[in-house]
Subunit: 344 residues, 4 copies
């Protein structure tokens, strides 16, 4: 039995971790922290968990967390870096669902996150938690920086094209659409039902924190700095990310793109290359850890359009964290992650 | 391994059966029928099932269905009664998610469903599939008439009051709210997103087919004919039923209603009596087989208000059918049904 | 030209007043206040108003407001009672969209609103702003307490039955459903899109502040104290209230209820009695000041079910306030209020 | 008084025309046709129109339509071309909201619409109904081919850049998002609430009928053939189009794009260039005829991102048709079109 702790359990990635781990046969959640809800049963805050957990929130306490085999940070940026060093020093493996260790260039991180990094040395050690590119490094990692939601959808969609150098890496356009759960469970006017439903808008066009993360990943895949325009949009729905990825083929003959994608992801349990001509819907992955991808060349022209969908709370956050944990602890990679997406 | 067949697999209760059974360790779906989609892979119609099934729709064929241990009918009324007799005769156990065998009074059934019943004798044999009242009869039944969605939410909410004779059985008001999936997957203008979202309406106020079914169940519980006003409403959402149940206490002193409900359902795996003062949300059961119930006496007056929520496609249809199947085949009642509701 | 001021312009009833008054030919909004947004253009906060207003929020200032002919309070309770006395003393007519002057029994108001009332004498003078019962008193009133959203839908639906004494006044059940805009524009977790969409719940079952207001109005109509159970529900949509109103006929013969309603509201510009057998949808009044009503007697039994729908922000708040203003200033009652509901 | 006829009044653009014209002081709708609903009152099908129209659907009849000054076709493609010639011959001015006369290259039209065109000569005469480019030609036109919904949002967004030749015209990417009302009011599984809500998908990536229309318009603006990738997406909402338009500046210095757009549209009553840095929401134009546009250069790089939002049923269809009619009949261009967008 893997003993798990969760820091920051009152947000959407926290409750989603609890939902997934409730049916994981080899994990027991021992500690879940929340400063504000100390003492409250998790099932009181999240009634969907009634009958699944007899566990109360407690204030974060390194002593208690250090009894765990693994600690998940489902927290805003800045929290994980303040606690991870001590936990790691005491032998706990840490999986950060937040952004503290995702950007290798600490100065760049500080610029985007407007915060002084308190353990830059751990940034260097941290393994970026996207199994489709880093599976081997994940196995023995002490610290994982789980990939963000948009970055997961965008990187999985672009990887085969960039790894093979088939497209102009200077002109990538990622037009991304996300449900409102990506904005978290904090009270705010902008994500009220009355503000965010029945409407669509772009946001963060001048610059979004996931931009440097995506650019870093795509640059690694391409082997050279990419030029990327990334525009996120808020969708009037709860869950799901749809990334529409544009790029231009260097050589406008047929490259067998469908076969390329199928091969690249043939052994990936959580990437599904759809049949040619498909249009994946976000609901086809709602509640599941799957990423579904389609590849198009409209009008047989030289522009490639890749469609990539995930559930931002699962493959884009908590499901990915569990997938990573399974790898770290030598479990079958899909253990506890075989839920079928809920449709309708 | 239980070999299962599904007749009518292209509707919402059909795909929901497939979703649930995909993770049931003791069931293998052998046959799934659809006249219109003969030959199509189920995962082509329902991409959420990709990777979970290698199974194609086929035209209904008694020979093939007769190889199954159990056959589910996820069909409009009229279909099950045409095929059930032969299957039962050949030793297959039948679970009808539709309405063909729910009403014991065949003339009443024919009046509401505008159809001649073709096997009234089987109506007499059929067991009403609501485990919370009929668990023992279900065990050995050859034919189950699963309770409808509204009837499940309403009956579970009223049962303790009526069984104990605490309220005026002549003045029951069931104000029910359902998501649009209750109307099925057929193309129709009324349930288009543009017609049914951002709006609420009552429907069927003069008379709805679930009225005689609910009345029959409540009459059995009360031991005398009840007077019931049932008003269903269409909600702008996909899943969920919220029943708001009004009745008047005969004796307006405290009856320990909270304790009464907790005792009545103490051993029920899928009825959750919430703490006093709660207001259950339908999303707290979204995708799960649970029914959550709260009991109120506003202003300490003599009116009792019971709030009862289910997922109409799970406890109101396919989950209940699997629960019933587990009982029939001697499996643990919650096998394959332990999914946590998806929140948010 | 009527010079109007609005106190509390940053909430949903405030922006709705601005939307309606933008097309009112005889009103000019001169002042709109907001402590927090002093100096911001209203069209900056509400881009739908771009091109319609050149007006900025300012801190509330009695001097400026006193230049107006009428001041609307679109504020939480407690604000209007602090400013209304001085404005009225200076000859300004006041229309309060909030609750400060709705309950004639000041002690009862203080009990429900947990606040000491600061001008009980004005409560006695205030006219309850529901034109369908108080049109004449409204004409010359100095102070109007606009009816609340639920109270408007419920009272209009019950009035004819109670005025004629046709139903048992001790057993009224009002099951009401409201869109999330009724909860206002304040940041709160409960009305986030991710919390309130795709779900239905009852709330305030033990007691809701609109209960005493509705009870007061129905008691006046019935001429004796009524017994009322009022259960509000939160719907996953923005606008609209659907009241489902149950009552029991004293004399279970046909009372010509349809004709009764048609006559009662024959001259009302904003009450539409639908044809017999109808089920009004809330979207049929979205954005309009209309209340649509249907009357049913299910199964020809003695229970009457009245369905009453309004847009909570229009007939339930800002539209009603403008209707009242038109009456007060001798304008045609429907001036500026002839917008067609938006469908789809 | 302008006497108007509407052919095809049972769809969403038909009811939207009725909604808008109900408040147009100079138009009276004399005829509205529907083969299937002959004799039904329009207010019976669309209860939001109760009290605004005393008008019944009738079967299309050229004699009756010929009495009108103007006839709107709110029909699927193929209908207008079958009736327009005779109406025009009899002096009626025709405004087609459909696609029959939008594409000047008749062979191209036939290829995309899979139909033989029956009056190619009228295609040559027809004026493309986008006032922002064709105002003068519209004045005296006998036949208008109203711009489509996506084409309106995309063309208005790209016009200034292409007219000035500032961007690489060979590499345009229009990523567009539309509410479900764009798919019309026909019964279909794909736009059921249960299929289209809580999900996002691209569709028609290999080729959509609006592609040749947009390409034709942009080619005219650029003065040379453009290269365009157009990907439409279905959004889980009723109304609204959000076009996110990507292009690459030829000369990556500051071009004063904000000023360019403000000047280009300075005199346009229905194009609103938002302040620099804005992100327009579709709800800011819900129910109004406005197009709101923002211009961004993310990271000050050479990619321009234009955000353009409209209500697909208003500026993308029926509102635009009324704007065009106002121009044709010498009325103020915004007459009957001054409704404020509904927010929330």
């Amino acid at each position: 039995m893997i003993k798990a702790g969760i820091v920051g359990g009152t947000g959407y990635t926290g409750v989603e971790l609890l939902r997934i781990l409730a049916n994981h046969p080899q994990v027991r959640v021992e500690v879940i922290t929340s400063r504000s809800e100390d003492g409250m049963q998790v099932s009181e805050m999240f009634p969907n968990l009634r009958g699944h957990y007899d566990l109360a929130f407690s204030v974060p306490d390194v002593e208690r967390l250090a009894q765990c085999d693994v600690v998940f940070f489902a927290t805003p940026h800045g929290v994980a870096m303040s606690m991870a060093p001590e936990l790691i020093a005491r032998g706990v493996r840490v999986i950060d669902l937040g952004a503290d260790f995702r950007i290798r260039d600490v100065a760049l991180w500080e610029q985007w996150y407007k915060l002084k990094h308190t353990c830059p040395d751990l940034v260097a050690e941290a393994v970026y938690g996207l199994p489709e590119i880093n599976r081997e490094q994940i196995r023995d990692a002490r610290l994982i920086a789980c990939a963000g939601c948009y970055p997961t959808a965008v990187q999985l969609g672009y990887l085969p094209l960039l790894e093979k150098g088939l497209v102009d890496h200077r002109r990538l356009v990622a037009d991304c659409k996300s449900g409102a759960s990506g904005a978290g469970r904090g009270a705010s006017v902008g994500t009220l039902l009355c503000e965010a439903s029945e409407s669509v808008k772009a946001y963060g066009v001048p610059g979004h924190r996931h931009l440097p993360e995506i650019r870093q990943g795509l640059t690694l895949a391409a082997g050279r700095p990419v030029g990327l325009t990334f525009v996120p949009h808020l969708m009037p729905m709860i869950r799901g990310i749809h990334a529409t990825l544009y790029s231009v083929l260097k050589d406008p003959v047929d490259h067998g793109l469908q076969a390329l994608y199928e091969e690249r992801f043939a052994n990936e349990p959580f990437v599904d290359v759809m049949p040619a001509g498909s249009h994946p819907e976000t609901r086809s992955v709602k509640g599941s850890n799957m990423c579904r991808i389609s590849i198009h060349r409209p009008q047989d022209d030289d522009t490639v359009v890749v469609l990539s969908v995930i559930d931002n709370l699962v493959k884009g956050a908590s499901g990915q964290a569990v997938q990573v944990m399974n790898i770290m602890f030598g479990r079958p990679e899909n253990e506890g992650l075989q839920q079928v997406a809920m449709l309708p």
